[in-house]
């Protein structure tokens, strides 16, 4: 190295020794220890608190409940699961399941175009507006929203007012006479309950689909068009398969949230319990924890089956 006359180069700075540095160096050399330190708290949380309580739920669903003493004994039995097949319980499960399925399909159908617009077309302030518009309802209290819907849907409420102004009241009244849909008014009908569920869970469908569409590179659609695919074809063969994991993710939210809900069925719609109401009644009022636990296992099993089928259908191939 050439040295310039009259210029003394400063000595290279030596790292100062300190506790933090020593610890950092030890962790750098022993990466397993480092990993262990990082992972222990979350593993304790998930393993102990989360999975542990699920496991204890599963075990308790096999415990015996004595109708006479109203006490629970840790004797394992299939009785609770057999009771799920009783006509009354069976009805509750079917009622909840069909509502969850309908709400999910409706959310996907309504949510996809919104998500598509957000991901593909909206830019700048429009994108921001849509994000806020989709998320804002999630910031408001769930109870408040559910109660306001009872007012919106009631006779003399804004929907009846609007339908009347549009001279569509006979059509609405006819719809309310349909079996499975109707009721004496919107707020006591399955239709009303469906509207409220769809309103409440729609954002949970839009956001995952939007994220999935956003991840699909734009030039794939161009490549499809370039190869001769008309817009409907490129949508069906490229965008939809690639966005489908997002639809599945969203449907897990809407499906399981509806399966587990017990507030909306109380406030809106006809009489008749949902799984959530049954769990609430069983463990809250009656104290039949084993029966409540076995009811809780039902949605878990259903979601498990649902995911397995989705996987078999190739919903996650594009992940």
């Amino acid at each position: 190295m050439e040295t310039l006359p009259g210029v003394a180069l400063p000595a290279p700075a030596r790292p100062r020794a300190g506790v933090a540095r020593v610890v950092a160096n030890v962790l750098y050399r022993r990466s397993t220890l480092y990993l262990l330190l990082l992972l222990t708290p979350p593993l304790l949380w998930f393993g102990g608190v989360y999975l542990g309580s699920l496991l204890s739920l599963l075990v308790q669903s096999f415990y015996t409940f004595d109708d006479f003493t109203m006490g629970v004994t840790p004797e394992l039995t299939w009785a609770n699961y057999k009771a799920l097949l009783d006509a009354a319980n069976h009805d509750i499960i079917l009622r909840t399941l069909s509502m969850a399925g309908t709400v999910t399909v409706a959310s996907a159908v309504l949510g996809f175009p919104v998500a598509y617009y957000m991901a593909r077309y909206a830019t700048g302030w429009r994108k921001g507006f849509f994000y806020i518009a989709v998320m804002l309802p999630m910031w408001a209290s769930y109870i408040v929203k559910a109660y306001s819907w009872t007012v919106i849907l009631s006779k003399g409420g804004i929907i009846y007012w609007l339908v009347e102004r549009l001279y569509l009241l006979p059509a609405l009244e006819w719809a309310l006479t349909l079996p499975g849909v109707g009721g004496s008014s919107l707020s006591t009908s399955n239709l009303g309950r469906f509207l409220v569920f769809t309103y409440i869970w729609l954002p949970y469908m839009i956001l995952p689909i939007q994220a999935a569409i956003e991840r699909v590179p734009g030039n794939l659609m161009q490549a499809a068009a370039d190869l001769g695919a008309r817009p409907t074809q490129s949508f069906r063969t490229v965008l939809l398969p690639l966005a489908f994991p997002g639809v599945v993710a969203g449907s897990i939210f809407t499906f399981s949230l509806t399966l587990g809900d017990y507030i909306i069925p109380q406030l809106v719609g006809p009489s008749g319990l949902f799984i959530g109401n049954m769990v609430y009644t069983m463990q809250g009022s009656i104290g039949n924890i084993p029966m409540a636990a076995s009811f809780t296992v039902v949605p878990i099993v259903i979601i498990g089956i649902y995911l397995t089928v989705a996987r078999k259908l190739g919903a996650f191939d594009a992940l």
């Binding site: 370039d226 190869l227 490129s234 398969p241 690639l242 594009a318």
Partner: protein, 340 residues
């Protein structure tokens, strides 16, 4: 007799105030290997996207085999594109990727798979059909993209920097393969690149783009030996562009001219029929087969000489810091338009 495959007549594409393509006119012959060369942002890719139909011209007329194509969507055009990052469908097998163009036309599965297999063999990927694009290397993906674009038997193939993501060795190999493929198929290739070496070695003709306009359209040889503008001289190969006061003293005109480094020599003294100028040797770079010498002459202008090593006796060559005289033959000077 050749017909015109692609013709652009004063085509512009503006994004607000930005003129991505600004009044470009060119015509590409049927069966030609035509390159569009330029730095990034010069409008060459936008031009390609206009031909593909991903963009529509703001003004002007675009003809594909004599038919007006402005306003037509990509799926109505008899051209196919090889994308820069390949744009393979990740959820489909390689075979389904290649067969896609036939699938959307409604060709039966057995037939389209057979044709796709043939197309894969054409790009030396026979037997790879059942894999996913993610299981292939960059070079293999490149070939799949090529096979997919060729399955519809387009009359014009558009290639958007197709070799940009490959390493040097693979790139050179693919250049040769692309060229031979184009010769065998006899279809028009429109090739976008920022690599002048690639454009020169593969093309029948090259259009040099700068700031949304075409500077020159010519054969590779003419582009190198007869550049028309300062920009082309500097972008295609290395050039010594001399302008201003020095140009006036040497040629009697301030109009800029260019001399290629390999046409310059060191001279002992001013010789009668050669143009020469004195300067100081400021840099010597060894490049293996040749060496490069940078000489600072009057007006702070730096001239670059390139000489084959072994061409001259090493001991006689000047060293860094020496005062030298650089000379060249008058016919090595190419007059340039100052614009660009």
């Amino acid at each position: 007799m050749s017909s015109i495959a692609v013709e652009l007549k004063t085509v512009s594409r503006h994004y607000g105030a930005v003129k991505a393509v600004d009044g470009v006119s060119l015509s590409i012959q049927d069966g030609e290997f035509f390159s569009m060369l330029g730095p990034s942002g010069s409008g060459k890719t936008t031009c390609l996207r206009l031909i593909a139909g991903f963009e529509q011209p703001t003004s002007g007329s675009l003809l594909l085999h004599g038919q007006e194509a402005a306003g037509l969507p990509p799926y109505e055009r008899d051209v196919n594109t090889v994308f820069q990052d390949y744009a393979l469908f990740p959820h489909m097998s390689v075979l389904d990727n290649v067969a896609y163009g036939l699938m959307v036309k409604g060709v039966a599965k057995a037939t389209r798979h057979k044709e796709a297999e043939t197309a894969l063999e054409l790009v030396a990927l026979g037997g790879f059909g059942s894999r996913r694009p993610s299981q292939l290397s960059g070079g293999q993906r490149q070939r799949v993209a090529l096979a997919r674009a060729l399955i519809n038997k387009p009359r014009v193939l558009l290639l958007d920097e197709p070799l940009g993501a490959l390493d040097l060795k693979l790139r050179e190999q693919m250049q040769a393969e692309l060229k031979s493929l184009q010769r065998r198929l006899g279809i028009t290739f429109v090739y976008v690149t920022h690599d002048q070496g690639e454009a020169l070695s593969m093309s029948d003709r090259v259009a040099v783009f700068s700031q949304g306009r075409i500077e020159q359209v010519d054969t590779p040889r003419n582009l190198y030996t007869r550049p028309k503008t300062v920009f082309v001289a500097g972008f295609v190969g290395t050039a010594n562009v001399v302008s201003g006061e020095l140009a006036r003293r040497l040629t009697g005109s301030e109009r800029p001219f260019s001399v290629r480094p390999e046409h310059m020599r060191f001279a002992m003294s001013a010789e009668g029929n050669r143009v020469s100028v004195e300067g100081r040797l400021v840099e010597v770079q060894y490049h293996g087969a040749s060496s490069r010498y940078e000489v600072r002459v009057e007006g702070n202008q730096v001239l670059t000489l390139s000489m084959l090593n072994g061409e001259a006796d090493e001991a006689s060559l000047p060293r860094r810091g020496d005062t030298v005289r650089v000379a060249w033959a008058p016919e090595a000077m190419v007059q340039l338009e100052s614009g660009g």
